[in-house]
């Protein structure tokens, strides 16, 4: 009963790979957007804010379809990526990571923005009077102080990416071994007449993974908090 079939193992490992890539790519980009939204004033800030949050309110299928239009081989961005960098995103696991990243992005930006806004800017001023330039202050003061937020963003993003379904199936379809992640495999098993035991196993795995991620983030956050506050 608890023994996973090779196909289920494949789905689990693929999911972990997709979620990891999704977080690794969107973390620095999300940090930049969070910094723009928290610290800068510019024309179109509201528009950017809205755009970042769009995946949260639009049906995931719509996001998947938009990705297909933009990043498909014939899409404007997809064609450019293929011509210049030789990267294809449609119907492969990197595309699944992109879909997961877009869906997780608002959550990650939100967590980082909140923690960035909580950083005492007076400490940054103090650092500058001590001879540190803007970038140096960001690296030595701001980033370490927003570390709990970065961690929360990474874990939230990872968990959200693991669970991504709608945008993924629309953008990269449900190809075994390539884009069939855990939720997609679960969906396929439910569709098949004798997949009940497999579906149950995957459900347990999904729940355990999510709980482990949350517990890890809680533990780490506590430890960091203790370090920051002494």
């Amino acid at each position: 009963m608890l023994e996973l079939t090779p196909l289920e193992w494949e789905a689990l490992l693929l999911s972990l790979r997709v979620a990891t890539l999704s977080v690794v790519v969107s973390l620095p980009f999300g940090l930049f957007i969070a910094w723009l939204l928290a610290r800068r004033d510019f024309a179109g800030k509201i528009l950017l804010d809205g755009l970042v949050h769009l995946p949260l309110v639009v049906p995931p299928v719509v996001v998947g379809y938009l990705l297909l239009l933009l990043f498909g081989r014939q899409g404007p961005l997809g064609a450019w990526l293929y011509d210049h960098l030789g990267i294809t995103l449609a119907f492969n696991w990197k595309g699944a990571a992109l879909a997961a990243a877009v869906m997780a992005f608002p959550l990650m930006v939100r967590a980082m923005r909140l923690s960035l806004e909580a950083v005492d800017r007076k400490l940054e001023s103090a650092a500058r009077t001590l001879g540190a330039g803007r970038l140096s202050v960001f690296v030595t003061i701001t980033l370490p102080l927003m570390w709990p937020g970065l961690l929360t963003a990474a874990i939230l993003g990872f968990a959200r990416s693991l669970g991504e379904f709608g945008a993924t199936i629309t953008f990269v379809s449900n190809i075994p071994g390539e884009t069939r992640t855990l939720p997609l495999a679960l969906y396929s098993l439910i569709q098949s007449p004798d997949g009940e035991a497999g579906a149950l196993r995957l459900t347990v795995i999904a729940v355990v993974l999510a709980l482990a991620a949350l517990a890890a983030s809680e533990l780490l956050a506590r430890r960091i908090k203790r370090r920051l506050e002494g």
Partner: protein
């Protein structure tokens, strides 16, 4: 030489300052909260950009509105000790201390970590985090951190305001040592006159975003027209004096000044030390003849020069003691009884007890002079 001509408009407040002063010893910015002291210091540090004007230190232009030059704070080499310390919570005391030191040019590091640690008594704190420090310890670390960045001028924005009196007493001697031993010029913001009497040489009086007066502290505190700014409750005269003798039997010290002598509780400083004594107006009583059987040890002959505030129940009387101004605050009733008027000869009576450690400060730059007088170190 510090030159500041700046205008800055903030939400409900306008700063319009013109100031030029020497930056030797300690320059004090004094004024009520809201007078613009902190804004001015932030402009000097480069943390606030003025709307227009010019800021220059020892000939180097830090800000010039006309040419658009605005040197960023990290390139001004000005140390800044903030009221709230602002230690970096995620670093140890040692890492806090060396933050600016590592960034200073290696050839511009006359002060080393060990020296600062010894000077400020930080030996036991290096491995700790700011959260484990007391308020006084935090400010000492903040002071050390600013000094180790090797500033050419140290800015201090009410560094003692968040501390209680015992903690203040813990820090003040350190600041005096910085002034006397490291000879770092400082701009010191405060609204506590007793701190300034101990520390400052030059006083900049601020009010409503403007500089109301600039001058030596003893001069400005003796001016009646500045009384609303120098403070009424704590009002008094600041007198420069010299330690002239010790009375070992009764534990008293004698201070000499041009208008006479003052006896104060014994001071642990060598003969010849130049001191500033602050005599609060309310600690001075007046008499028409020298009392023969009283406990007053200080009876000084002088002449009334000015009467102030005669409408209320209290009168401030300005006296001239052989060229030194002294204030006395007495009741209007006493004033009438004694028939005080400018020119009248009176005796000022001052209790020695009123002239305690809080009322005395050593004048800057005296230490080396003293040591060559073979009096030993204080």
């Amino acid at each position: 030489m510090l030159e500041l001509v700046v205008k800055k408009r903030l939400a409900a407040f306008a700063l319009d300052v013109e100031l030029a002063c020497e930056t030797s010893g300690i320059v004090a910015l004094f004024g009520r909260s809201g007078a613009g002291k902190t804004t001015l210091v932030n402009i000097l540090a480069g943390l606030i950009r003025p709307d227009s004007g010019r800021v220059a230190l020892d000939g180097e232009v830090l800000y010039d509105g006309a040419s658009g030059r605005h040197l960023p704070p990290e390139r001004r080499r000005l140390g800044y000790v903030f009221q709230e310390g602002r230690l970096f919570p995620h670093m140890t005391v040692r890492a806090n201390l060396t933050y600016g030191y590592k960034r200073a040019a290696p050839d511009a590091r006359p002060i080393g970590l060990d020296q600062i640690v010894a000077l400020l008594g930080l030996e036991g704190l290096l491995g700790r985090r700011p959260a484990d420090l007391s308020g006084g310890e935090k400010q000492r670390v903040a002071l050390g951190r600013a000094l180790l960045a090797n500033p050419r001028l140290l800015l201090m924005d009410e560094p003692l305001a968040a501390l209680d009196q015992p903690r203040k007493e813990e820090i003040l001697p350190f600041i005096e040592r910085l002034r006397d031993e490291l000879e770092i010029p400082m701009v010191y913001v405060s609204h506590a006159m007793d701190e300034l009497v101990r520390l400052a040489d030059t006083l900049v009086l601020m009010s409503d975003g403007r500089v109301a007066a600039v001058g030596p502290i003893d001069e400005l505190t003796s001016r009646l027209d500045l009384r609303p700014l120098t403070g009424r409750h704590e009002a008094g005269a600041v007198i420069p004096a010299r330690l002239a003798g010790h009375d070992r039997v009764f534990g008293l010290s004698d201070l000499a000044f041009p208008g006479g002598r003052l006896r104060v509780p014994r001071l642990a400083v060598p003969l010849g030390t130049k001191l500033r004594v602050r005599i609060r107006a309310r600690d001075v009583a007046l008499a028409l003849s020298a009392p023969k059987d009283s406990s007053f040890l200080n009876v000084l002959k002088g002449r009334v020069t000015e009467l102030g505030g005669e409408q209320g129940p209290l009168v401030d009387v300005l006296l001239d003691l052989g060229g030194t101004p002294l204030w006395a605050r007495i009741t209007n009733l006493s004033c009438q009884k004694l028939q005080l008027a400018p020119g009248k000869e009176v005796f000022a009576l001052i209790k020695s007890v009123a002239l305690d450690r809080h009322a005395l400060g050593r004048i800057a730059g005296e230490r080396r002079f003293l040591e060559s007088e073979d009096e030993g170190s204080p």
